[in-house]
């Protein structure tokens, strides 16, 4: 059974149709890339899946349940996690507190008042920071990090609650070549733990880490398949050549 199934997704903003019947299927432990030219609807698709936008039409199924009308918090509690396109770490908080904030998000508010869980979460916070090579700066404010490090921190925050599905919207945006390479290294080990949907313009990066790709064009699916199938697809080549 597929982990994520988005069917007939349509999203209209006034006169603009951002999605026009787009579909996406992601299997457990699959790394799935969502690519396409600028304005093809990739980010809107991610937002509709994560609950940041409500689709005008369509249905989103996740882990066997229909979550089309679920709030972002309900989707997060069901096991879905999102990293936004624009970095949105909390700059006034320390790195440690940023990850702790993400980690305790699904804890009952009554338990948070008594902070009994904090000691239990400490090791998990440190492990996430260690995994993303940020442990030495745990006590610094997030605003002190470089752009690339903020992206890593946000991925660490998104991964902290151990989601079944991680949605990453342009995780290497604004990164140097070296930072992109490291990001690929950091993401590789999570494959055994969760599925990944990633929107990215860097096709080399996508090709290196993804199992399957879906190509969007003008809000609809142009093609979907393995990396090799997509690379050989005349329709995809035509779209990219047309836009080049």
């Amino acid at each position: 059974m597929a982990l994520l199934e988005a069917r007939g997704m349509k999203k209209v903003f006034g006169k603009l149709t951002a999605l026009n019947g787009a579909e996406l299927t992601v299997q457990p432990n699959e790394f799935h890339g969502l690519i396409g030219p600028n304005g093809s609807g990739k980010s809107t698709m991610m937002k509709c899946i994560a609950g940041a936008e409500v689709p005008t039409e369509g249905r989103v199924g996740f882990d066997g349940a229909d979550i089309t009308s679920a709030s972002p918090a309900e989707r997060a509690r069901a096991g879905m996690s999102l990293k936004f396109q624009i970095t949105s770490v909390l700059p006034a908080l320390t790195l440690y507190d940023n990850v702790l904030l993400a980690l305790q998000g699904q804890t009952a508010l009554s338990k948070l008042m008594f902070s009994r869980t904090r000691g239990l979460l400490h090791d998990k916070v440190m492990a996430m920071l260690e995994q993303f090579r940020l442990v030495d700066r745990a006590g610094e404010h997030a605003s002190a990090l470089s752009h690339g490090q903020q992206q890593w921190l946000e991925i660490a925050m998104a991964l902290a609650p151990e989601p079944k599905l991680l949605l990453l919207d342009e995780p290497t945006g604004g990164m140097s070549l070296e930072e992109r390479r490291v990001t690929g290294e950091l993401l590789a080990p999570i494959k055994s733990r969760c599925s990944l949907v990633i929107v990215e313009h860097d096709l080399d990066f996508i090709r290196d880490i993804c199992d399957r790709l879906t190509v969007l064009d003008q809000g609809a699916v142009l093609d979907t398949g393995t990396v090799e199938q997509i690379q050989a697809s005349p329709k995809v080549q035509e779209v990219y050549l047309r836009r080049a």
């Binding site: 997060a76 908080l93 440690y96 699904q106 006590g139 404010h141």
Partner: protein
């Protein structure tokens, strides 16, 4: 990949720079001053300072709601005045003035009113905008003020005079040092509870709410519930303050519920510095003392002088007076609990 387990035994989240914590020093210094004041002040000034302490409690309620959770409430006086009217009616109509009954009643009234208004303004399917909440609470404050002015049972424009004195057993708690120390004990207790709360993991959730409400919803936080809880808690503290105020002053009047009182508490917190608790106390004390002194010395123009002073502080110190002595990072604080030996800790 690095061996995580071996790193964990040594790793702790270090601070970028070790700074001496200033907030606890200010808190202890202010407590010491408050404890000694009745010993050196004349009786009428002790009465004045009792009123200031109760208003500090009121300011704490607003700081919790706005300074920590980012909910702009322009109707905090509804809970303050509502509780004041409630306990005044208990005293007038039922002859109930025992502190053990009227203070919990005030807390309950404030809590219930906040839950009612907060439920309407904050518990929608989507998070409410700042403007919606601000205007909604402002409207509630205006509506309650008009209701009190127009309802004969509540004394209309004159309010409810001659409330009996609050009692503990057979002892009457009139104005003076005893009421002062009672107000101080309650203020310190509420302050301690608030301080614990905002430094707990719940406080971290509040910090997330204030910094980026949309982001934390994607971590699974029920943002609307979080807001409604803190708003109701703020209402309960305002209700506690309102019940003490009513018995201390001996009467209640419509202004206690209205826009003027609601704005006054915003100014206390803005002036002292929001999001620190002690800033709310400092703001209240400074504004009330300066107002008292100016109104004696410059009877005709004191509101203008006070307004100009507040404008200067807000323009040049948007983070309030507290920012003169406490760093930004200490005001935000940290929530992680490091292993022993680490210098990372909560401020």
């Amino acid at each position: 990949m690095t061996d995580v387990s071996s790193t964990l035994s040594e790793a702790s989240p270090p601070r970028a720079k070790r700074r001496r914590a200033v907030l606890p020093i200010i808190e202890i210094a202010m407590l010491a001053v408050f404890l000694l004041l009745p010993l050196v002040l004349q009786d009428y000034l002790t009465v004045f300072m009792t009123r200031v302490l109760i208003l500090c409690l009121f300011a704490l309620s607003f700081d919790l709601v706005w300074g920590y959770a980012g909910i702009m409430s322009f109707g905090q006086a509804v809970f303050f005045g509502g509780a004041g009217y409630g306990v005044a009616l208990l005293g007038r109509d039922l002859g109930i003035s025992s502190m053990l009954l009227v203070v919990p009643a005030g807390v309950l009234i404030g809590f219930a009113l906040a839950l009612l208004i907060g439920g309407f303004l904050l518990l929608g399917r989507n998070p409410s905008s700042v403007i919606f909440v601000s205007l909604g609470t402002l409207t509630a404050s205006y509506a309650f003020d008009r209701l009190a002015r127009g309802w004969y049972y509540l004394g209309g424009q004159n309010g409810i005079p001659s409330i009996p004195q609050m009692t503990i057993g057979s002892y009457d708690l009139g104005e003076g040092p005893v009421f002062y120390y009672l107000a101080l004990v309650i203020l310190v207790a509420v302050y301690a509870v608030c301080r614990y709360l905002v430094r707990s993991q719940f406080g971290l959730a509040l910090a997330g709410l204030r910094e980026n409400e949309q982001r934390i919803a994607f971590f699974g936080y029920k943002v609307q519930h979080l807001k409604a809880i803190i708003f109701s808690l703020g209402g309960a503290i305002a209700g506690l303050a309102g019940s003490l105020y009513a018995f201390h002053e001996g009467f209640v009047w419509p202004n206690m519920l209205g826009v003027v009182m609601s704005t006054q508490v915003v100014l206390y917190v803005l002036f002292g510095g929001s999001g620190t608790l002690i800033g709310a106390v400092i703001g209240t004390v400074v504004i009330e003392i300066v107002s008292f002194w100016l109104s004696n010395s410059y009877q005709d123009i004191w509101p203008i002088i006070l307004g100009a002073l507040m404008l200067l502080v807000i323009l040049f110190r948007p983070a309030g007076l507290i920012s003169l002595i406490v760093s930004h990072s200490e005001r935000i604080g940290s929530f992680g609990r490091p292993p022993k030996g680490s210098d990372h800790g909560s401020a």
